[in-house]
């Protein structure tokens, strides 16, 4: 999580309210796994158009999948993450849902 130090959010009560609002909403991650079939151009296109990632971000994630074997491509509330995993399966990508640490 990013820090609010130095920002206009100096009031402690406001910080707490922000945490309560944002933390429980992002507990799930969408993980895409490497496989030898899906093409780099295809994966990159899916990341850019489905998630709306920039070209740079999409290519970074695609290379991360390729070299590390997996990458977290999105995170959010459970329903949202489930929808994303199903969409990735529809594109033929190996994707799983996991609880964020």
């Amino acid at each position: 999580m990013s820090t609010t130090a130095g920002s206009t959010l100096t009031d402690e009560a406001t910080d707490l309210a922000t945490d309560l609002r944002t933390l429980p909403q992002r507990p799930y991650q969408v993980v895409v796994w490497n496989d030898p079939v899906n093409l780099m151009s295809y994966v990159s296109w899916v990341f850019r158009t489905y998630f709306g990632h920039s070209r740079k971000r999409a290519e970074h994630l695609m290379m991360q999948v390729h070299t590390d074997g997996r990458a977290i491509v999105a995170s959010g509330a459970r329903e949202e993450a489930e929808r994303d995993v199903t969409a990735m399966h529809n594109y033929g990508l190996q994707a799983t849902l996991e609880g964020a640490e």
Binding site: S41, S54, T86, H89
Partner: protein, 205 residues
């Protein structure tokens, strides 16, 4: 000789030989059949040919019935192709089974719809796709490639390279070599389509 996908003023087009598009269309039809069969197998398991099953379940007692509801997950397909087309959504088998119970049937239906649309696009030697049709065709082509890769046992990048280099020689004599040729051809076609599609995306930060 086939001519690769390229961008046009209203989408993308490629020129295929008649036998190439017929083969691709047949592969799409094969994948549709497999997905439909999976649906029928599940329906068969859930409502076996037993008119009194529901009645007996009720007699067996409320407690037992509740237990069944609790672990009402759906097991992954045993066939390698279906397992690849309909993957687990979680590393935890129990959670994956629960998710599959809710999501697999609509995933099968969307894949079948994509594959049917691809078959329509493959009805003429010039395969013309609008901006909206291109991703649909691309997904269907990808499902065909996943199917072939599972049949060919492609599990690593070097497996894939081997299939590609063997296919380049154009002397397929066995079913496996022929599948390898089809894999290489559909890979090439998909690569040209998505390179063209990436080219027209607005360049951002």
């Amino acid at each position: 000789m086939a001519r690769a996908f390229r961008a046009t003023t209203r989408g993308y087009k490629a020129d295929l030989e008649t036998h190439e598009r017929r083969l691709l269309s047949q592969l799409c039809a094969d994948v549709i059949t497999m997905l439909q069969q999976r649906g029928q197998d599940i329906a068969g398991e859930e409502s076996p040919d037993d008119e009194f099953a529901h009645f007996r379940a009720e007699l067996a007692g409320l407690g037992a019935g509740l237990d069944e509801e609790d672990d009402g997950g759906l097991q992954p397909p045993q066939d390698a192709v279906l397992a690849r087309l309909l993957p687990d959504a979680s590393a935890d088998p129990e959670e994956a089974a629960q998710f599959r119970r809710l999501a697999e049937s609509s995933l099968r239906e969307s894949k079948i719809a994509d594959l049917r649309a691809a078959r329509l696009a493959l009805e003429s030697n010039t395969v013309a796709l609008s901006e909206a049709q291109a991703p649909v065709f691309g997904r269907a082509l990808n499902d065909v490639r996943l199917t072939l890769s599972a049949r060919l046992g492609i599990e690593t990048e070097s497996d894939a390279e081997q299939v590609h280099s063997a296919a380049g020689q154009g002397s397929a004599a066995t079913t496996e070599e022929f599948m390898g040729e089809l894999y290489a051809f559909s890979t090439w076609l998909q690569e040209t389509l998505f390179s063209a599609m990436l080219d027209v995306l607005p360049d951002d930060q």
